[in-house]
Amino acid sequence: MAANQMRGKVVTITSGKGGVGKTTTTANLGVALARLDQKVVVVDTDIGLRNLDVIMGLENRIVYDLVDVVEGRSKLKQALIKHKQLPELYLIPAAQTRDKTAVSPQDMIQITNELRKEFDFIILDSPAGIERGFRNALAPADEVLIVTNPEVSAVRDADRIIGLIEAQNKGPAKLILNRVKMDMVKRGEMLSPTDVTDILAIKLIGIIPEDELVVSASNNGIPVTLNETSKAGMAYRNIARRLMGESVPFMPLESNTGFFQRLAKLFTGD
């Protein structure tokens, strides 16, 4: 409890299944929160398979990483990499050469407690799976966001993860539904947001539409949130505001449908 009274909030981004967009979400929420004048650090906890640094465009600035901090080769401050454009945004990269056992849940609690003193938001990018790496990222979480796609297999894994989070008394987690293709939903070819929340029974905090700009932005190391014209970027900015406790009305992804208005009731915004 003492930890929660400190300044910063630890938000863990996880999913169960790989490739649904955890790292992209982490990078974009980090950028979006920093642009709202929050002091933010994003932490890559996927030891051995780091890539948050690539999406953030900070790969070439890495000197020390998370494992260096845990094993005492570097001070926490030395491992913080400042973002190029946003002075309030920092990254702690994962180690490339080690595996998940190099860090324990206790280490993560210790490190995040240090970070809480300096930052408003500490965003942890969890690895896929339900093993040690997931438990490392979950242990210090104040809030858990689950990223899933409107696909049966991704939803199944998200369900499993939600059960594990409940068992650790870390819930209730909130849901980010990523890569939604509205035209496919309308044709009944893709699970709708309601189909997903019917099964998972947790609150949505955001729906990210499929957007080609996300891929090119990630490849260029410039998170899509920085692109004002991107719908996905807009959706991430809305999630950031909701994380700060704002009640943000749902973004109309298409002007000619009442579908998304009906979705509004699924949201936490009261």
Partner: protein, 227 residues
Amino acid sequence: MRDGLVAIKGVKDGLLVSLNESEDWQRVINDLAARIDEQSSFFAGAKISVDIGTRPVPKYALSSLKALLERRNLMLSVIISDSDTTLEAAQALDLRTAIATEKPGQPQPTDTINPEEDGSPGVLIRRTLRSGRIIRSAGHVIVLGDVNPGAEIIAHGDVIVWGVLRGSVHAGAEGDTGAIVCALEMTPMQLRIAGVAAQLPNPKRRTPAPEIARLEQAQVVIISWNR
């Protein structure tokens, strides 16, 4: 049961270890370790189910029990317990769990007036069963919540789901052909009664309504609850 701390018996697919519910946990565990070490050839390679009873056991204690067995090359296959704390700790360790419903040591109620009111064993689970959760019970299972795809219930008796049944269910798993399954919305992944698998219609064509499944002439029939 010789000294009352640990009871061990052979079951279908391994050994069932029942731990005393009231003695000091560490004493019980030490006794278990001693028993295994005494008869290591008897135990060698066995799958172990551990019945912990009603005692709430925290995660670290379960974790050290698991480690103790693993050091002796034994696989901890299932944790059986009546305690939510213990079951959740076991879930957190990714152990399979089962809820104890029949206590061999427990006296059966004797002064019967109406046999139906004597109570057949059952468990009530007041939460949604999410993917990966498996409930095994020697009695009936009642779930107040949904049973999601990837979750599974295996009951010797009936299964009642006050919610949407989307996962897998086997009622009458030990051969009770009178067992039933009912749910507010019946769209299971798999449904079996006493080993007979149901032919499930395409869930998309069904209207959600309470239904009940039972065996009729060795076939599973699913009918609407409104008779």
